[in-house]
Amino acid sequence: MKTFFSELFKKANSGFWPIFITLGLLIAGTISVYQNPRSLSAFLTLMLCPLLVYFMKINMKVKVFIGLLLIVVILPVLGIRNIFYLEVIFQMAVFAALALGLNIVIGMAGLLDLGYVAFYAVGAYTWAIFGSKQLSLLHSIPGAAPAGAEFALSPNYFWLFLFLGVGLAALAGILLGLPVLRLRGDYLAIVTLGFGEVIRVLALNLDKPINLTNGPQGITPIQRPPLPPEFILAPIRSLLTPIVGHVPTDAEFYNVFFYFLALIVIMIAILVATRLEDSRIGRAWTAIREDETAAIAMGIPLVKMKLAAFAAGASFAGGMGVLYAANRTFVSPETFSFLQSIGVLTMVILGGLGSIPGVIFGASAVVILNIQVLQNFSLYLSELRQSDAVIPIINFAWKDLSNQLDPAKYQKLVFGIILVVMMIFRPSGLIPAERRKRELVEDKE
């Protein structure tokens, strides 16, 4: 049976088959999502395409073309028909960037960081404080904001703060790194866990003595960067109107806009991660992970390299944090709980520690599972609950099913199951890390 499948796969992955299959799936997926914007299976079919594009043996130029077609044309258009998809992809991008950053710290340098989400919070709160009315509310009691408060900065400052968020998060990474340099393994994990909690509790309590974070209520509204000017939007709007069936609103354009922003950030993140990995710095990180003593004996400056890993990892989260704050127009300490750190860790472990394509896949899979598959399952169950259907044989009426059994509440259970199952059966992840094969002169002999 196994050989049958591997033979089948080999056949499907040679000659013209890959292009046929990929294009076929792309077209089928596009049409079915277009027809049934709410169908989960249609969306999953479409989401298989990027995987195929990545794994199939296709000419590089064709790959890039299909990828661009999917990303630049198909997804935004379909996204305007069902705005939820852009939200899903936005979240996938956010978590993929977080997973890529955490992957540098844990996967490459081997430093177990359980408080990673703190850096995300640093980025988010950076823009939240300066991009909202919070600066003029510093001396007022949370929740009792005077009516005439002004935004402190113009929304255009968002772009500057995108970079500031990256820098501040990197700085926070170094601050965390300094005291934990001598720690390894479990000790390091505990300290980083504490650090994550400290940042969250700071966000929760810095509404006194001056109201910096607005405490548990969070900060809102946070400004969004302005949309591109009308002379660019107008032609796109008239082009899209017949395709999506209505005149796209500004809200929908904002979704597309953030979708592209998130894509740009994730592209940069991927570029930075791959290039760092395949350089002197990346090799030093891996060496530290493999054997710290041997690494320092080989002349690797441990302090500098560990701090660099913390800073680089944190900077990804910082950038995405700024973007997240602008997208949601709201941040609160809730978002940056310990469980969120574990969630990102789950994505990294599911995809494969140290594997860049792996962690992106891991992040996408967990996001789809959490906000799509479980949600859909919940909807289905609640429909059953409202119907008069009965499970045959055991004679159990669906409407007697307890509300506690709502799959949407199982997020944490899913994290747990993924961690346990992966550690036992596939500790190196679904797409394990591979070392780059070099073309060596001596190998050609």
Partner: protein
């Protein structure tokens, strides 16, 4: 003149004096051995030289500069490379990457070069790769550059460790029991390799070794340690006849009954 000179180096672990007043020197271009029974403090002495431990007392001079207080990476940058008693390769990195890690201090690229893939970066990486390939061939490894280091047989791993140490372009190479666990043929090859490293590359070698054939075969100078102290030094012929050395190895009674 001596390349490495230690004076009264003391290293204690709590009450235990692991290295006691070691005064010792290595001349440039020599192959020098440290021998001694298990637990004599040889490896601790090595670790004190390379900055992994900081000795409590004494002075270590290398090329007329003190090494005391330097971190291991700084010691490595000064030109001392080492291998380990238990092989310590970066197991899930490829063989060639292991050697490239050894070049870390000799590479000039920074993060920006790596991010923007500057010309300098490409040129340096290519050159480094070439040098690493050459080193692999030098230590007698072929067509294994892309293998994971942990997948190589024992003898091969020992060779990678030496190639990795050579990659840092040392003037002094410290080998900690380099032939431990080798069969006679492999040992023979290893001895030849050490000679070549000294003769062709002009690298001074200091080794800890248990195998007397190796020690007597290639060392120009031998220092014997026991209970953390130097008990004898001299040429292989002198060491062979030294009463204290025979006692240290065989025990006092066995040594006297031999007479």
């Amino acid at each position: 003149m001596s390349l490495l000179q230690t004076t009264n180096v003391v290293k204690r672990f709590g009450g235990l004096v692991a290295v006691n007043k070691m005064t010792f020197s290595v001349d440039e271009g020599h192959i020098v051995s440290i021998i001694g029974p298990n637990g004599a403090g040889k490896t601790t002495f090595f670790n004190s030289l390379t900055g992994i431990y900081r000795p409590e007392e004494g002075e270590i001079m290398f090329k007329d500069h003190s090494l005391i207080g330097l971190r291991p990476d700084q010691v490595s940058a000064r030109g001392i490379s080492r291998t380990f008693q238990n092989i310590r390769l970066f197991g899930s990195m490829s063989v060639i990457e292991n050697i490239l890690v050894g070049m870390h201090i000799r590479l000039k690229q920074n993060a920006l070069d790596a991010l923007f893939r500057s010309k300098k970066f490409h040129a340096e990486e290519k050159e480094a790769e070439q040098k690493a390939s050459d080193l692999m061939e030098y230590v007698g490894l072929k067509n294994v550059g892309n293998e994971l280091a942990r997948n190589l047989p024992y003898g091969g791993q020992r060779r990678i460790e030496i190639a990795r140490a050579l990659a840092a372009k040392p003037t002094l190479l410290l080998l900690d029991e380099p032939t431990a666990g080798m069969n006679p043929n492999e040992t023979e090859d290893a001895i030849k390799l050490f000679r070549r490293i000294r003769d062709e590359k002009g690298i001074t070698i200091l080794l800890i070794e248990h195998d007397m054939r190796v020690v007597m075969g290639i060392s120009e100078h031998i220092t014997v340690m026991d209970y953390g102290e130097k008990i004898a030094e001299g040429s292989p012929q002198e060491i062979r006849k030294d009463q204290r050395v025979i006692e240290a190895y065989l025990g006092r009674e066995a040594a006297s009954s031999k007479d």
